[in-house]
Subunit: 130 residues, 2 copies
């Protein structure tokens, strides 16, 4: 496997386990991310904040409740929540198990992105040669 | 909506559009991320690399082919690919549409994470008081 990338099969989303982190396993240097499932009727045992990392939650199936800074709101498939480091947050499943990913990255660390960071190269993948 | 967070409903994963970016819309400062769908039999029109951002691809449904630095391999639901900035990469759908997210963050920018960056606070969400 080339050092420029790493690849992992995590299986069907519906079969993901309780929580798995991937930074160290895959060699990420700019982000940590986790795949998470909380069974129906259960939730995080504690509220937490962060020192310097922003978090992004993306719900992939099921439903639940998101707590942030004293507010609570329902989340479901397709819900995205951005949380600043200092925000106090927690998540719980509703009447279905909730499956979500969480990505953390250093707040204020992204200086350029997409069109300003990407470079189109001349190399062609197989499907571009057809 | 408190400034410490932002919230968005993107709808069912299976109904996501071609490509949507969320950094500016939601106020992310440490990452950019996109939701993507490529129809069956189609693929990126070009190969690209990045100047300073690492990318993470997570496939949520369907199947396809991932190209990186002259290699190609199949991807499917649950496949995760980490790509260093300089890697040349592209993705195509296979015989089904492929739905995936892509997150970019500045390579080498994450200095602490998870247990070293998280802080458990005394606040309780509603389900912790039951």
């Amino acid at each position: 496997m080339a050092k420029n990338y790493s690849f992992l099969e995590t299986g069907k989303v519906s079969a993901w386990g309780n929580k798995a982190f991937f930074k160290d396993q895959m060699g990420f240097t700019g982000m940590e991310f986790s795949l998470n499932t909380i069974p129906a009727g259960k939730g995080n045992d504690f509220v937490h904040s962060h020192k310097q990392n922003e978090e992004m939650y993306l719900v992939l199936s099921g439903n639940g409740i998101f707590y942030v800074d004293g507010e609570e709101f329902p989340v479901q498939e397709g819900s995205v929540v951005r949380v600043a480091p200092q925000a106090e947050r927690a998540i719980a499943a509703g009447d279905e198990a909730i499956v979500y990913i969480c990505v953390q990255a250093t707040a204020d660390s992204l200086t350029q992105y997409t069109m300003t960071d990407g470079v189109i190269v001349d190399t062609k993948a197989s499907w571009m040669k057809l």
